[in-house]
């Protein structure tokens, strides 16, 4: 026998009172989802869509929980929790997609919204030029949970506040640090998918994003510098806060931001670059992850994110980088932000090469993209940021494979006459076809004759994607491999956020153009 959500809340709330409520009061909400018979609702959606002429349909019934904490110095600025529950129905009618969604999760509403999705598809189908086709995928009935040890939503808020305040205190130890801001974000997706292929999939995902920025100010000169944390978001639980050396990095960041104020401004010119994974992940994201999205190559993103310099006729032909460069797309990688059991149309998580021995060999695909390049299966890259958003092609984790040998940072630096070592991601920008890019960083070190010679500032490098990866002549070994990533990668219309990781070793690039970004105003 199921209990209605209202009754459940009445019982728990009345019996326990506010102070002794569970760590997460909204747990009651989540637990009450049990009272929503998702399979029955799915039956309503899928049978309605079929009756109205849809050749394919799916329904997502999802709950999202978010927790956010932010602090500055020794003040807590915000502690908030939110949750969102609802469903979205997608219907393919006469080769045209229609989608509709609602926060009211009842059979009547599911029926009404499904009719709306079909009506939207039908209205647009009158003017459709190239009907959408989808490749089949095997029926799946499964449940899947992302790999985490400690659910952050079960950790007391007080512990988190104390963690951030201690972090701030540690960062401000260095004399000259003026400000520090720190934050933690946690996301929990509880997703149910049913498709007209017969798939029924439950998934539970956790993502964590701690971070901080320290600022040093020279009030006499009016100058200021910042240093943001190098540890990025991970698909891990609260154990990420406990295992990553956050306090060590906070102290280091305080020292470094003060040093940045006095660092030498870079002399523009050509340098060999040695890029740490805390920096290189973003260059991979922009110059490898996005151009290998097939929807971009087919001009589906032409009005917003842009197209790609890669086109289907270049598959297996274009030399993307040097022979040592191998990029894998991977939705199975532990702690990867885009790792998932199944994508939002029931395709299992997979791993495949995008660039092999420097050659561009494959794409990121979905069920409606795969047939456009003659593929019979999707790589499973469909994702929607919420129940109210249309799922569309999103990036899997895209990572650079390390050297097989044990190559260290010192090994890579040892062969540099005149170079720069860069940590952390800073300013970033790339053109709409992913040729020309410019990246900054957090800390920069001059390298002279194989040794670090001091700190630099005002550094950014500009290059062209294939020139840059062609100039890669050294990769660190497995011990230097780290996972970086983006918590909020924007793409699509309406724009949606996707979390995605990029692993890489330390890597070396020869003869890259470096700018000085400082501008003196009158």
């Amino acid at each position: 026998m199921t209990t209605s959500r209202r009754d459940f809340l009445k019982v728990t709330g009345a019996a326990l009172g506010a102070v002794t409520l569970p760590a997460w009061v909204f747990e009651a909400e989540a637990a009450a989802d049990v009272s929503v018979d998702k399979n029955k609702l799915a039956d309503v959606a899928l049978s309605t869509a079929k009756r109205l002429g849809a050749t394919y349909a799916d329904i997502r019934i999802n709950r999202y929980r978010f927790e956010s904490l932010s602090t500055r110095e020794q003040q807590v600025q915000n502690v908030s929790r939110s949750q969102s529950f609802g469903f979205g129905v997608r219907a393919l009618v006469k080769g045209t997609w229609g989608f509709a969604s609602s926060r009211i999760v009842t059979p009547e509403e599911v029926r009404r919204v499904t009719e709306q999705a079909v009506e939207i598809a039908r209205a647009n189908a009158v003017f459709q030029r190239k009907p959408i086709q989808i490749v089949p995928t095997p029926k799946v009935v499964a449940s899947w949970k992302s790999s985490f040890e400690k659910d952050p939503f079960d950790v007391p808020i007080d512990d988190k506040i104390q963690f951030l305040l201690k972090l701030n205190q540690t960062a401000m130890k260095a004399q000259g640090v003026g400000f520090v801001n720190s934050s933690m974000f946690f996301v929990n997706e509880q997703k149910f998918l049913a498709t007209s292929d017969g798939s029924r999939i439950d998934q539970y995902l956790i993502r964590s994003f701690p971070g901080f920025t320290v600022t040093a100010i020279n009030r006499a000169s009016g100058d200021f510098q910042t240093r943001a944390s190098l540890g990025g978001p991970q698909a891990m639980g609260y154990e990420y806060l406990e295992k990553y050396p956050w306090m060590v990095e906070a102290e280091q960041a305080g020292d470094e931001v003060v040093a940045k104020l006095k660092a030498k401004s870079v002399e523009p010119g050509k340098y060999d670059l040695v890029l740490h994974p805390s920096h290189l992940w973003l260059t991979i994201h922009e110059s490898v992850g996005h151009p290998t999205e097939l929807d971009r190559a087919l001009w589906w993103e032409a009005n917003y994110a842009g197209t790609s310099f890669l086109t289907p006729d270049k598959t297996g032909k274009l030399q993307f980088g040097s022979k040592i460069v191998n990029f894998v797309a991977d939705r199975t990688q532990p702690a990867g932000l885009a790792t998932t059991g199944y994508d939002d149309e029931g395709v299992p998580g997979q791993k495949w090469h995008l660039v092999k021995d420097g050659l561009f060999v494959d794409w990121q695909t979905t069920r409606d993209l795969a047939p456009l390049v003659g593929r019979k299966q999707s790589y499973g890259c469909l994702y929607a940021e919420s129940w109210g958003a249309v799922p569309f092609p999103r990036m899997p984790n895209v990572s650079l494979e390390p050297a097989k040998e044990a190559v260290s940072l010192d090994n890579l630096l040892g062969e540099v006459e005149n170079g720069i070592l860069i940590y952390g991601n800073g300013s970033f920008s790339i053109d709409q076809q992913r040729y020309n890019f410019q990246f900054g960083g957090q800390t920069f070190y001059e390298v002279k004759k194989g040794k670090i010679a001091g700190m630099l500032r005002d550094v950014a490098y500009q290059s062209r994607t294939t020139d840059f990866w062609g100039a890669c002549d050294g990769l660190g070994g497995p011990a230097t491999y780290q996972l970086g990533g983006s918590f909020n990668d924007g793409k699509g219309e309406p724009t949606q956020s996707n979390a995605v990781s990029h692993g890489c070793p330390i890597a070396r690039f020869r003869g890259i153009n470096v700018l000085n970004t400082a501008v003196r105003t009158a």
Binding site: A100, I120, R129, A302, D431
Partner: protein
């Protein structure tokens, strides 16, 4: 369905009634959103979302907690309030706590049109069908995005304020590309009233730019005189008006900070014809009747005749500095004190320079000088001897916005147009003019089209 004022009041009163906190604010928003996306002259995705969200912030012994939910039944609203109270109980004292507002008087702005909230599916499909037909006739492949959003919401405080507002926006942005990929054009416009959105003009302009940007030539990077169309100005400084934060300037970490802990207020930082302001009651760009903090919005000049007149003080920072909080900004307007010029006049007055239609992927490089990097996109043309000569390839720029608008660098200023940044997809807008500038720094070439 959108909440009426009565319904919104009932929800916020209910939430405030549930809490025993010393102080509290409750807000509720309701939204209908629809979109249609097309690409390569074909329909791609199209959808609709209906949602509501209730948010509560409470203070207990000056300790703050916040929670929100999209379940509107009584039990869920009560659960959200209890969650916020629980968070407040275990949080440290909020040293920036300001008592919530007492009853305020708002002067409404007209930013809502019923027709925008209920876009007929068939009419929208036909409008996009017409665009695809026009694209096929012109020999281009088009991609575009039509979206309409209507919202109604309210914020209420335990101290007696209630602020209800409805707003709407509709936009169409479109990119046309020639079949050989050698030309690309873009045009984006929005309005709160769908009857004022000229979809045919958007289609015509995007297609024209695609055709006229074919066969572009390579030009060296460097410093050029430029004419920036309103779209290019919006891409650069569409969010500029919200960067005039007093606190960061006084803390020494803003482009408006100067040595010795002072700010540039009172200094002539821009060309003396430039005014940058917020005006909630501009007919083509109605802003919200209230600021983010809930204060009644007023006309606020940030820059008047080139002089930095105001930085923006939050309620907390204003109290700390013993002054009034700033009743804005709620929108962004840049206009000239002098006689505005047309883009055609700017071209006629250019001996050699570049006409830029749009910028893309703009990110901050150096906050000390508001230096940005990014690229031109969808049409750059060389102007010589008062005439457009030919299209040129795209460039990357690195340019300080402070230097760009500084005295001596602004030659001509246009009439402001309602335009939104292209990265914002038309979801927001500003009133911005075309600008003719003496110098703009392009640092490398891009072969992207």
């Amino acid at each position: 369905m959108l909440l009426t004022e009565k319904e919104a009041r009932a929800i916020t009163e209910k939430m405030l009634g549930y809490t025993k906190a010393d102080d509290a604010s409750a807000s509720v928003t309701s939204e209908t959103y629809s979109h249609l996306r097309f690409a390569a002259n074909s329909f791609l995705t199209s959808g609709r979302r209906e949602n509501m969200n209730a948010n509560v912030v409470v203070w207990i012994n000056r300790k703050r907690g916040a929670a929100s939910t999209n379940d509107m039944d009584d039990a869920s609203l009560r659960a959200a309030v209890e969650e916020a109270e629980r968070l407040a109980n275990i949080s440290p004292v909020d040293v920036e706590y300001m008592p919530t507002l007492k009853a305020q008087t708002y002067k409404p702005s007209l930013g809502y049109a019923e027709a925008t909230a209920n876009v007929p599916l068939v009419d929208r499909a036909k409008a996009v069908g017409d665009i695809i037909t026009a694209s096929e006739k012109a020999g281009v492949l088009s991609a575009g995005f039509h979206q309409a959003q209507a919202s109604a919401g309210a914020q209420a405080t335990k101290n007696g304020n209630f602020d209800y507002e409805r707003r709407s926006i509709v936009s169409l942005g479109m990119t046309a590309r020639t079949l050989d990929g050698a030309g690309s054009g873009y045009f984006l416009r929005s309005h709160y009233d769908i009857s004022r959105l000229d979809t045919a003009r958007i289609s015509r302009e995007a297609i024209r730019r695609a055709l006229e940007s074919r066969n572009s030539r390579l030009l060296d990077a460097g410093v050029y005189p430029v004419i920036l169309e309103p779209q290019a100005v919006a891409d650069l400084i569409g969010g500029f008006g919200f960067g005039f934060d007093a606190r960061s300037a006084e803390e020494g970490r803003s482009a408006y900070s100067v040595a010795g802990g002072k700010t540039k207020v009172g200094e002539k930082i821009f060309d003396e014809r430039i005014n940058i302001l917020s005006d909630p009651w501009r007919a083509d760009l109605p802003g919200s009747q209230s600021t983010q903090a809930g204060l009644p919005a007023e006309v606020v000049y940030l820059v008047r005749n080139g002089v930095l007149e105001n930085l923006v003080y939050s309620r907390y920072w204003a109290q700390k500095r013993e002054r009034q909080p700033t009743p804005g900004p709620v929108n962004l307007i840049m206009e000239t004190s002098g006689k505005p010029s047309t883009v055609e006049e700017m071209i006629q007055n250019t001996s050699r320079g570049l006409l830029v239609s749009r910028f893309w992927y703009i990110r901050g490089v150096d906050p000390r000088t508001a230096t940005l990097t990014g690229l031109t996109r969808d049409g750059v043309w060389l102007v010589e001897n008062g005439k457009i000569q030919y299209p040129v390839r795209n460039f990357r720029f690195n340019q300080s916005m402070i230097q760009m608008l500084a005295p001596g660098n602004v030659e001509m200023i246009g009439t402001p147009e309602r335009v939104g940044s292209s990265e914002g997809q038309g979801g927001s807008a500003a009133l911005l003019p075309a600008l003719k500038l003496k110098a703009f720094k392009f640092t490398s070439q891009s072969e992207a089209v």
